[in-house]
Subunit: 195 residues, 2 copies
DNA sequence: AAAAACGTTAAATTATTTCTTAACAAAATT
DNA sequence: AATTTTGTTAAGAAATAATTTAACGTTTTT
């Protein structure tokens, strides 16, 4: 009989973890990470370091899927390879500090955004400059080119700002700047709709 | 002859815009927005307000695609319906201020992340509490439940912090806090690899 | 009021992505 | 050195997602 209750309790604990794993997966889905990668991350979040075989057993998926999933999560900088003494298989560990998760994930994305777009803008402005400089082109078109040039020029401050933000997030400076605190009354109320 | 140069110039301008449209689309792809929605946004960014038919003509896609694409972008709060006087067709306009784009896009996502996960945590902790409170369960399992409970509890400060960040981004406070400035020497160097 | 135009929804097709099984390459053990 | 064991790559199958055509309801114009 006690045996039976223990089985129930075990299920309850697993169930509780699954609730959170699912919401972590949905969160990552929000940012364009596939649900299965998100589920893998969530699982590793609770299980600590794991081998590919352990992941496969836990998730009931194939080993190549685990391999590619881990790789993807490594690309996002939220999973790292670890050493487990006397363990032949590779082990991997998920970033369990969500502040660092945030930092790694978004600073990377934002840096890529900045580089990507500033480069596109540079090339675009080069082309536009040719049109603007050319003598044998109608003034109407030149004005068009100038207008587009200016629109691009005006967008640069945003990218410089984002670059700063990314740096501050990467360094952790942002976490000093915006301290965390116990939730205010309003914040608590926002999450007490359906008790 | 001048006619011909003008055609070239027109192509150059379109080409320059396309470069940036593509990088905007790739950027949005980075955050999980489909490329075609990103392309649509980029197009609207340069064209100003547009009707569905104008989008269809510009992108060479079907009207329902434009309709659903616009709807998606409205969900992200980066496109709004506008009034164009004496125009029967609906018109839509893209958010052209990237600061506001950032603000609308991320504050929404982050709020959803917070609500989603705090709710999951609340439910999970309820379940775990039952296990912890129960008399007829082995102490080993109770410890497990308590450990998981604590892990969840420890993650809450992150969500409260994210909630604050989202609020500051939404209100624009963050843009005062992290001012934008001309790029520093290092920042410029980062984007002058291939001139 | 009838006809036309517009936007959305539904159904079907197409394309893309994800996942698995199978084959391979690399590493470690015996 | 030979044999396992492990991880990744390749190819095929399955599942998802995106796109289009067609149909519908609504609004606007005449």
């Amino acid at each position: 009989m006690a045996e039976f209750r223990d089985e129930d309790a075990k299920g309850s604990i697993e169930n509780a973890k699954d609730l959170v794993v699912d919401s972590l997966a949905e969160t990552m889905d929000l940012y364009g990470v596939t649900r299965s990668a998100g589920t893998l991350y969530g699982t590793m979040y609770f299980e600590g370091d794991m081998t590919l075989d352990e992941m496969r057993d836990k998730l009931g998926m194939s080993k190549p899927s685990m391999s590619t999933g881990v790789k993807k999560l490594q690309d996002f900088n939220v999973v790292k390879k670890t050493f487990r003494r006397g363990q032949r298989k590779h082990t991997y560990i998920a970033e369990r500090d969500f502040f660092r998760f945030f930092s790694n994930f978004f600073s990377d994305k934002w840096e890529r955004e900045v580089n990507l777009n500033l480069e596109a803008i540079r090339h675009a402005q080069e082309q536009l400059s040719e049109v603007i400089a050319s003598e044998s082109i109608s003034s109407h078109l030149k004005e068009d080119a100038e207008e587009v040039y200016q629109v691009l020029e005006d967008s640069k401050p945003y990218y410089y700002w984002l670059q700063r933000l990314a740096a501050m997030v990467k360094s952790g400076e942002i976490f000093e700047m915006i301290p965390f605190h116990p939730p205010t009354k309003e914040e608590k109320e926002m999450n007490e709709g359906d008790t």
